[in-house]
Symmetry: C2
Subunit: 314 residues, 2 copies
């Protein structure tokens, strides 16, 4: 049974990206769950452009980049150049950059490059499995878990394992404006797995903590430093601060700590404010309104109860 048979639809490998002939088809997450549309990329540059324009996000760029490297190899392209183009498409995603760097370093040792890529996919499936064993262990019977944005495989599998072991769990999902990943990706994915969840607006975090209905905060991390600093979708700091006030633990999942960086090295992505001023094509503010869109929050170590990794909770 393939590892991804457990994943909700949007997280199955073929739903993230797939090769058809000489093209890479990337599912357009901006249109999910209403339409399953794929963006067709015929070059490494087109894949990088798709990542930059948010066709895929979270763990999606890593998988799309691995498949893009496979096609670059088949086309006989310069692989170092391809990896560099792909890595620079989402600078905060250092996991992608480090994975591509390791892939090229291993290239000397193994003749079959495509087998190496298969190995990386397998490595991540095994990693999701191992990290989610740790995550499931933390979840307690009766927990109400607040998340943020779209925490992918590790969070989903942790919940699935917790529920399968008989624990009663509810998840509170903030819609996560402006791109609404919570409403469009997380909520349908949890529902597809049969996990009870509630869609809420972005600033209801403290409301449900004060009522005692949220007992844990668990999110993914775009970046986790070894000093326990977490970088994740804007809003996560508000969640962590509120959790601290109500004596609720905040855990972040990490596939790999970034040991080479310190907080000083974090370059924050400021996206154009105009991305905030419409929803599904409808304007929500006037043309002249000045909107600010810092894409990420930095959550300092004192607000992080633990980082969930395959080695356990750090």
């Amino acid at each position: 049974m393939p590892a991804d048979s457990l994943y909700p639809p949007f997280l199955k490998h073929d739903w993230i990206s797939r090769i058809e002939g000489d093209a890479l088809l990337i599912t357009d997450r901006r249109k999910l769950p209403f339409v399953h549309d794929e963006v067709c990329c015929r070059s490494t540059e087109e894949v990088a452009a798709a990542i930059r324009s948010m066709v895929t996000q979270g763990g999606g760029p890593l998988e799309a980049a691995l498949n893009a490297m496979r096609l670059a190899y088949r086309r006989g392209e310069d692989l170092d150049a391809a990896a560099s183009i792909l890595s620079s498409s989402r600078p905060t995603n250092t996991t992608m950059a480090r994975t591509l760097r390791a892939l090229l370093a291993d290239k000397g040792k193994e003749r079959d490059f495509e087998k190496l890529i298969d190995g990386v996919f397998q490595y991540y499936d095994d990693l999701y499995d191992a990290v989610s064993d740790v995550g499931a262990g933390i979840i307690e019977d009766g927990d109400g878990i607040l998340t943020r944005c779209f925490p992918e495989h590790t969070f989903m599998l942790s919940l699935l394992k917790a529920v399968k072991s008989g624990k009663d769990v509810k998840v509170f999902v903030p819609e996560t404006r402006p791109y609404l990943q919570g409403a469009r990706l997380t909520e349908p994915s949890l529902r597809a797995l049969g996990i009870q969840c509630f869609l809420i607006t972005d600033a209801m975090n403290a409301h449900f903590m004060a009522e005692g209905r949220i007992t844990k905060v668990m999110t993914a991390s775009d970046l986790a430093l070894s000093d326990r600093t977490i970088v994740n979708k804007v809003g996560t700091l508000s969640d962590a601060v509120s959790a601290s006030y109500y004596h609720i633990p905040y855990y972040a999942f990490s596939l790999s700590l970034d040991k080479d960086r310190t907080r000083r090295d974090i370059v924050m992505e400021e996206r154009p404010g105009k991305e905030m001023k419409n929803i599904g094509g409808s304007a929500i503010a006037e043309e002249d309104a000045v909107a600010l869109y810092p894409a990420f929050d930095i959550i300092p170590p004192e607000l992080v109860s633990g980082i969930i990794t395959k080695e356990g909770v750090l």
Copy 2:
């Protein structure tokens, strides 16, 4: 010069509601700022229905109800019955209920009922002026002020007075989902007054506090109790909790403390979750998603630095 010449357009009396012939025209705040549309009400019941369906909100129902009482009087209706229909249309708005009760109590003393109503409008204009003198005094040069939802006359006039006295002030305006009062009403109103403001998403509160750009939180209050408990739009608790963590003061404006109630008496309005699942007609979540929409937060006294009233900061 009429008192309301200082107010931004959406807060001028005639823009909130106005009498034309035997009808009350109420500006439909749900369509602002894109369209200035008025809902025409020809009976007390129609005014109550318009309030219930959010045609007007915040301080709007009070003004619409006063005008509805004027028309009920002209039609020779039972004024006690009219006041009771209007008061029950927005139970959290106890200011409206108390004002109508006081108006009827005064009716015995004054022959001209319409003059009494004129007096109530004048009373509120004077009150906005007095409360905003106190508010302006609290605002400091260089302040970055986070608000929530649509804090009306007292907040707007406080800022105007602070800026006119030479203070440099910036306002951070959360869009305030689901009805987007921040994006649609507060931001354009501040801009109309020439006050620098930034539109942000609902959970960016802690982000800008951590950066040191937010130095105060100031909101209206739907209800203020004499023990300093505040009831205001959901999200305000998250703001107040974050402010407390970053040692930033949180102030709420109040036109009149509700001295008859305790926290135990607060009945929270739970609105239908489906109101959250579309924006401007576009679906943002799937049909089967379960959404929760508690309309208000209760902010406990320990998170409230002060209540801004005409008597000063309590």
